[in-house]
C-alpha cells in the first residue's frame, strides 16, 4: 500500500541548488541549440521521406552509396525499427515546389532496379519549401500562443505573481525539451510541436494544483512564514503529484515501447515533458513564489475559490 501522507520534506531548503541546477540545464539547452541546432525533419526542412520494407535484409551502406549517385544531394538511409524496414530521406531540391515531386519517382525506380527483392513502399512524404516554411512558423506561433494563454488564464484565476511563476516554469520546460532534442539530435518534426503543446498543458496542470493549495494555505495560515507555507503546500499535494505522474508515465511508457516506430519521437518528448513538468512545478514554480512577494491578505469575498 502506497500512502505518501504527512511528508515534511523541506523542498525549499535546497532551492538555491535546484535553481542553479535548472539554470545550468537551461544554459546547456541554449548552448546545444545554438551549437548543433535541431535536427529538423522534412515537415520543417522540406524534402522527401520514403519508408520501405523488403523481404530480405538490406545492406544499408551499399544502398546509401547507390542512392547518393542519383545527384539528388544528400540522401540518408537508416534502419527503422527492424532490419527489413528502412527510412530514406532525400534533402530538399533547389528550384521550388514542383521539382520536389520528381524525387519520389527517381528514388523508386532506382530502388526497384537496385534491390532484387520486392519492395513495399510503406510511406511517402514530400514537403515543399512553401509548406515547410509555413509549418515552422505556425508551430512557433502555437507554442508562444499557448504560453501566453496560460499566462493570462493564471493571471485571471490567481494573481500576477502566480502567473509569472507558472510561466517561468513553463518556459523552463519548453526550453529543456528543445534542449534535449538539440543534444540527442532526435528528429524534430510536427508531432514534436504537438508534444510540446501537451507538455505546456500538463506542466501547467501540475503547477496549478500546487498553486491552488498555496492560495488556500495563504488564507488558512495567515501568520505562517512563506517558506514553511510553500513547503507545506508542496507536501500536501505531493501524493497527488506522484500518483498522477506515475499513471501518465505508465501509459506513455506503454506507448513508447509498444506503439510502433512512427510515434516514438512524439512519445519520447512527452515522457521527457512529464518528468520535467513535474520537477518544475515542485522545484521551480513553487519556490519562485518566495521571491515574487505574493499577497497575503486575500479578500475572501472576491477571490474565486470554492474553499472556505
Amino acid at each position: 500500500m502506497i500512502d505518501i501522507a504527512n511528508t515534511k520534506i523541506n523542498f525549499l531548503k535546497s532551492r538555491i541548488i535546484t535553481f542553479i541546477f535548472s539554470s545550468i540545464l537551461v544554459v546547456l539547452s541554449f548552448g546545444a541549440f545554438f551549437v548543433s541546432g535541431l535536427n529538423f525533419g522534412i515537415d520543417f526542412k522540406g524534402g522527401t521521406l520514403i519508408e520501405i520494407e523488403t523481404e530480405n535484409e538490406i545492406e544499408i551502406a551499399g544502398l546509401r552509396d547507390n542512392l547518393n549517385t542519383l545527384s539528388l544531394g544528400d540522401v540518408q538511409v537508416q534502419e527503422f525499427g527492424s532490419k527489413n524496414n528502412l527510412l530514406i530521406r532525400v534533402e530538399q531540391q533547389s528550384g521550388g515546389d514542383q521539382i520536389q515531386q520528381n524525387v519520389v519517382e527517381i528514388v523508386k525506380n532506382s530502388l526497384d532496379s537496385y534491390l532484387s527483392s520486392e519492395v513495399n513502399f510503406r510511406r511517402t512524404e514530400v514537403v515543399g519549401p512553401k509548406v515547410s516554411g509555413e509549418l515552422i512558423r505556425s508551430g512557433a506561433i502555437a507554442i508562444l500562443a499557448a504560453v501566453f494563454a496560460m499566462l493570462i488564464y493564471i493571471w485571471f484565476r490567481f494573481e500576477w505573481q502566480f502567473s509569472l511563476g507558472a510561466v517561468v516554469a513553463l518556459i523552463h520546460d519548453v526550453i529543456l525539451t528543445i534542449g534535449v532534442f538539440s543534444i540527442t539530435q532526435l528528429e524534430f518534426n510536427l508531432p514534436i510541436i504537438a508534444a510540446i503543446l501537451t507538455i505546456v498543458g500538463y506542466s501547467m496542470n501540475d503547477t496549478v494544483v500546487v498553486y491552488d493549495r498555496v492560495r488556500e494555505n495563504l488564507r488558512k495560515h495567515r501568520s505562517k512564514n512563506i517558506i514553511d507555507l510553500l513547503n507545506l503546500s508542496i507536501n500536501e499535494t505531493l501524493s497527488r503529484t506522484i500518483v498522477t505522474s506515475v499513471t501518465t508515465l505508465l501509459a506513455l511508457l506503454s506507448l513508447f515501447i509498444f506503439g510502433g516506430e512512427v510515434i516514438k519521437g512524439f512519445t519520447f518528448a512527452m515522457i521527457w515533458g512529464v518528468v520535467v513538468g513535474t520537477y518544475s512545478s515542485i522545484f521551480v514554480a513553487a519556490p519562485l513564489l518566495n521571491y515574487l512577494d505574493v499577497k497575503r491578505e486575500w479578500n475572501t469575498t472576491s477571490a474565486v475559490d470554492s474553499t472556505r
Binding site: 502506497i2 521550388g96 515546389d97 519517382e105 510511406r123 511517402t124 512553401k130 488564464y153 498543458g201 499513471t247
Partner: protein, 536 residues
C-alpha cells in the same frame, strides 16, 4: 451533496448508456453491424489516412500565372485599340503585373475605349458588373495599365473555384473510393484519397493543365535543329511530344480550342490498332473546325496539348461532322488519361503540388495494431496501479476509466471525428491523465479523514474542495488542445481532438459516475477503502 436524486442518477446513466451505444459498433465488423436491428447506431470511428492507408495531396493554384495570362490577353486588346485609332506607340511590353508602353498622345476617349473592352471581355467570365477593372496611369509619355486589386482577387477566386471543379471531375473519372476534395485558404486545394498509396497517376493527371488547341503549322519555314532561328512573327516554336529533338513551328492563332469539346473517348484505330482518343465538338467548335479544314486541305494541322505538339496530321479533306481523333504514339492508358483530361476540361492555371503524404495499407494496419496493444498494456498498468494505491476507491476509478474510454470512442463515432495515429496516442495519454480528477478527489478525502472528519463528510468535502482545482487543472490542458486544434492539420489535429474529448469525459465521469458509485456505498465506507492505513 453526496446523495443524488433519482432524476440525476437516471440522466447520468442515460448519458453513459448513449455514449456506450455509439462506441459498441467499433467492436464489430461492417457485416455484423448490418445484421443488427436498426435502432443500434452503426457509425464506426472514421480512420485517418495514416491508419487506413491513403494519400493526401496539397495543391496550390498558380495565381501568378492567372494574372500573367490575363495581361497577355489585354496586351492584344490594347494594341488593337491603339492601331485602330492610329496612335503611335513604342516600347510595348508586359511585366509581371502591368503593361507598359510609350505614346506621344493618349486621349481620354481612347482610355475609355480600352476600359470598355476590358470590362466587356471579362464580363462573361466574372460577375463584376460595369465596374472598371483597369488602372491606367500616365507619367509624361509612359503609360502603365494594370488590373485593379478587386479584379485580381475576383479572377483568382474564380480560377480556384474552377480548378476545384475540374480537379473533382478528373478524380471522379478515375473512380477512386470516397475522395475528399476541399478548398483551403484562398488558393489551395486539399485532396484526400483513401486507399491510394501510390498517387503517381493522379499526380500526373493533376499536373497537366490540359489546354488543348488546334493550330496551323507554319509551312513558310522549317525548324532546323542545327541552326535554330527565331520563329517568324505570328508563329512560335513548340516541342514535339514523341520526338524530343524535333520541334514544330506553328502559327500562334488558335483555330479551335478544347473548350469547344463535348466528349472525348479512348479507343483504337481500326486500321493500325493504335490507341487513339476520339473527340466531338459542340456546334460552334464543329463549324470552326469545318471551316478551317475546308480552307487548309493539304496542310498540316497541329494538335497541341499544354504547349507540346501531340501530332500534326495533314488535312486530307474537310472535316464537317464535328468529330475527329488524335493519335500520337501513346499507349492505351495514356489514351485513357488524355480522354479523361479532355472531358474534364482545362485548368485555368497550373496546379503546383506543395505536399504529398501517402501511407500504405500495411503501415496503417501495423499502426492500429501497435496502438491497440499499447493502449491495452497502458490501461492494465494504470488500473493495477490505481487499485494498489487507492484500493476500493481505486477500483471505482478504474471502472470510471473504462467508461471513459468507451465514451471517448462513442463521441468520436457520434461526431464522425477522424481517428489518427497521434489520436490513438491522445487516447492513451488520456488513460494516464483521466484518473487525475479522481486522484485529486481521493487525496482530498484522505486529508479530510486525517483532520478528523467522519468518512461520509470527508467524501462530501473532498468533492467540494477538489472541484476548483480540477477545473483549473483541466482547463489549462484544454487550452493547449484547442490551440493545437487550430494550428495543426492532418494527423496531429486528431491528437488534439482525442485529448480534448478525454478531458471532458474524465471530468464528467469523476463528478457523476464515480461519485454515484461512492454514494451508493456511502454508509459502509471505511478509511481503508481509500487506501489509508487504519492507524494513520
Amino acid at each position: 451533496m453526496i446523495y443524488f436524486s433519482n432524476t440525476k442518477i437516471l440522466s447520468i446513466l442515460l448519458v453513459i448508456f448513449i455514449a456506450l451505444m455509439f462506441a459498441v459498433p467499433n467492436f464489430f465488423s461492417k457485416d455484423q453491424l448490418n445484421s443488427f436491428p436498426s435502432f443500434i447506431p452503426k457509425q464506426q470511428v472514421n480512420l485517418g489516412l495514416d491508419l487506413q492507408g491513403g494519400s493526401h495531396l496539397l495543391l496550390e493554384v498558380d495565381t501568378v500565372e492567372i494574372i500573367k495570362e490575363r495581361l497577355e490577353n489585354l496586351n492584344s486588346d490594347v494594341r488593337r485599340v491603339l492601331k485602330k485609332n492610329n496612335i503611335q506607340y513604342s516600347n510595348f511590353k508586359n511585366t509581371e503585373d502591368d503593361l507598359k508602353f510609350v505614346v506621344d498622345e493618349f486621349p481620354a476617349e481612347i482610355q475609355k475605349e480600352i476600359l470598355e473592352i476590358s470590362v466587356s471581355n471579362s464580363q462573361n467570365i466574372l460577375q463584376m458588373g460595369d465596374q472598371t477593372n483597369l488602372v491606367i496611369t500616365r507619367d509624361e509619355n509612359q503609360v502603365s495599365i494594370s488590373f485593379t486589386d478587386e479584379f485580381i482577387k475576383l479572377a483568382v477566386t474564380n480560377a480556384v473555384a474552377q480548378s476545384l471543379e475540374i480537379v473533382r471531375r478528373r478524380i471522379d473519372e478515375l473512380g477512386t473510393r470516397e475522395p475528399s476534395i476541399q478548398r483551403q485558404g484562398s488558393s489551395r486545394i486539399i485532396i484526400q484519397l483513401p486507399g491510394i498509396d501510390d498517387p503517381d497517376r493522379i499526380k500526373a493527371l493533376l499536373g497537366q493543365t490540359a489546354k488543348l488547341t488546334f493550330q496551323l503549322v507554319d509551312t513558310s519555314t522549317n525548324y532546323d535543329p542545327l541552326n535554330p532561328k527565331k520563329a517568324p512573327v505570328g508563329s512560335e516554336i513548340l516541342p514535339s511530344d514523341t520526338d524530343g529533338s524535333f520541334k514544330y513551328i506553328v502559327k500562334k492563332r488558335v483555330m479551335v480550342g478544347g473548350e469547344n469539346l463535348v466528349d472525348a473517348q479512348p479507343g483504337f484505330d481500326p486500321q493500325t490498332n493504335e490507341p487513339i482518343v476520339s473527340f466531338r465538338f459542340d456546334r460552334l467548335g464543329a463549324s470552326k473546325f469545318g471551316r478551317v479544314t475546308q480552307q487548309n486541305v493539304g496542310k498540316p494541322f497541329a494538335i497541341i496539348l499544354d504547349d507540346t505538339v501531340i501530332s500534326a496530321p495533314v488535312i486530307r479533306e474537310a472535316i464537317l461532322g464535328g468529330s475527329g481523333q488524335i493519335s500520337g504514339g501513346f499507349d492505351s492508358e495514356e489514351a485513357n488519361d488524355l480522354a479523361i483530361l479532355l472531358r474534364a476540361g482545362a485548368l485555368p492555371a497550373p496546379l503546383i503540388i506543395l505536399e504529398e503524404r501517402s501511407v500504405g495499407p500495411d503501415l496503417g494496419a501495423d499502426s492500429i495494431e501497435a496502438g491497440q496493444y499499447a493502449a491495452i498494456i497502458g490501461f492494465l498498468a494504470v488500473i493495477i496501479f490505481m487499485m494498489f494505491v487507492y484500493r476500493y476507491f481505486g477500483f471505482l476509478a478504474d471502472i470510471a476509466l473504462i467508461i471513459n474510454l468507451f465514451m471517448v470512442l462513442g463521441i468520436l463515432s457520434l461526431f464522425q471525428a477522424t481517428l489518427t495515429l497521434p489520436g490513438i496516442a491522445g487516447i492513451i495519454l488520456t488513460i494516464g491523465m483521466a484518473v487525475d480528477a479522481n486522484v485529486l478527489i481521493f487525496e482530498r478525502v484522505k486529508e479530510e479523514i486525517r483532520s478528523g472528519s467522519k468518512m461520509i463528510n470527508a467524501v462530501e468535502n473532498g468533492y467540494k474542495r477538489a472541484l476548483s482545482t480540477i477545473l483549473d487543472a483541466n482547463i489549462t490542458t484544454l487550452i493547449a488542445a484547442v490551440i493545437l486544434f487550430f494550428m495543426a492539420s492532418g494527423p496531429v489535429r486528431g491528437f488534439s481532438i482525442t485529448l480534448a474529448i478525454g478531458i471532458f469525459t474524465s471530468v464528467f465521469t469523476a463528478f457523476t459516475f464515480t461519485r454515484l458509485l461512492i454514494s451508493i456505498y456511502a454508509k459502509s465506507l471505511k478509511p481503508s477503502l481509500v487506501g489509508m492505513k487504519i492507524n494513520d
